[in-house]
Symmetry: C2
Subunit: 227 residues, 2 copies
């Protein structure tokens, strides 16, 4: 078992059978001890964060599987804080796909001339490049195609799956009277070229509010997985 | 005749018959005396710049008219440095539409991980919001639709006209062995709701090179209009 990648919130190991194992860590993205799902640095470490993230991820990945939405998920070992997954390659050097139900964060920073904080958005999808140096720039369907990162047909599939997964999460949170503002997903191609959901779906990937108050990642995991 | 707008490179007057008059100035966008078509400030003033810009604009607007591409152009008075135009309203608070034949400028600043300076692009179109405060952010077709700035059908027309106009300019420059890298256009809706090219097409709106050397706006106008 070889470590092939050391991430901000997860480490990745190659297994002998060709699959991979993700080791969930207690580190969370943010700055100066304050959690920020959009940050590119580790900002804080909270005991139990890895386990909570893995539990929520497993919960949602199983729901995707039940609904026929392809993911890289195989199985989870909660005690060891690991998830085994099939191999998948990212698009280019990695994309983030954001689905927004309410305007906040970078959407307001960019489009604040035309939108107000919290304004409803209809499962609006946008893609950003994973590129810390250039501030994770947003990129259009046409630019993804022009730069051979994603074809237009693949973009349509990506957008459709993003909206389905995000809506699934939104509906699940709504059962606990939690309001999902936005969520960030990652996708890759599996060995058959199929577009699959990868990485994780945890509190660290989304902004959710209950009675107007932000729900922190660990609390969110506890409320949804009832642990 | 009332002045209704004081711009960086043009002033706008309302005429009694309902049309408008654009007064071309010798000011150019840039910083510290260096011309930059993407800048939001007046960086320098060159005698003859207004006349050269108007001459080139008139040249290309007439070509558009000949090819059935709608513009706001009525007529030009070179000596007074004015152009009269039909009324048109901009989309939202104004958009810039960029067509790229080679990668440079903000395209490289954003997508430099995937593109190299000068790389050919196939009449690639992107839209940015005119919003100095937020650094003129790029905006996707879906976001323009979501924010009710432009419908998806209007976006298709805008993109198609942008590619036609940019290709017309590119071909015209190619006759003088000038290589068009990119060009920035503005559009509006006329009183019938038709999408029309507005503003100007001058050296200040494009980046062009001859034998690998950048061609400055005034020089470009002289070469194309043979004045």
């Amino acid at each position: 078992m070889n470590e092939v990648y050391t991430g901000k919130t997860k480490d990745v190991y190659a297994l002998d059978n060709g699959n991979y194992m993700l080791q969930f860590k207690d580190d969370m993205t943010g700055e100066d001890g304050v959690f920020d799902p959009g940050a590119n640095t580790v900002g804080l470490s909270i005991e139990g964060a890895g386990k909570a993230g893995l539990r929520l991820t497993t919960h949602f990945f199983k729901q995707c599987r039940d609904q026929g939405i392809p993911t890289h998920f195989i199985e989870t070992d909660i005690d060891r804080q690991t998830m085994t997954v099939v191999p998948a390659t990212v698009f280019g050097e990695g994309l983030e796909v954001i689905c927004r139900f309410r305007a906040t964060g970078s959407f307001i920073r960019r489009y604040g001339k035309y939108a107000v904080e919290g304004q409803p958005l209809d499962a609006f999808v946008e893609v950003t490049l994973k590129d810390d140096e250039r501030g994770d720039p947003p990129i259009s369907r046409d630019a993804l195609d022009t730069l051979s990162i994603l074809t237009k047909a693949e973009y349509s599939i990506l957008k459709d799956r993003t909206q389905k997964i995000a809506t699934l999460v939104k509906n699940e949170l709504a059962e606990q009277a939690i309001d999902l503002y936005d969520i960030k997903l990652e996708f890759g191609r599996d060995q058959d070229g199929e577009i699959v959901l990868i990485d994780e779906i945890s509190g660290g990937n989304m902004r959710a509010f209950k009675d107007g108050v932000y729900v922190a990642p660990l609390e969110l995991a506890k409320m949804v997985t009832k642990t």
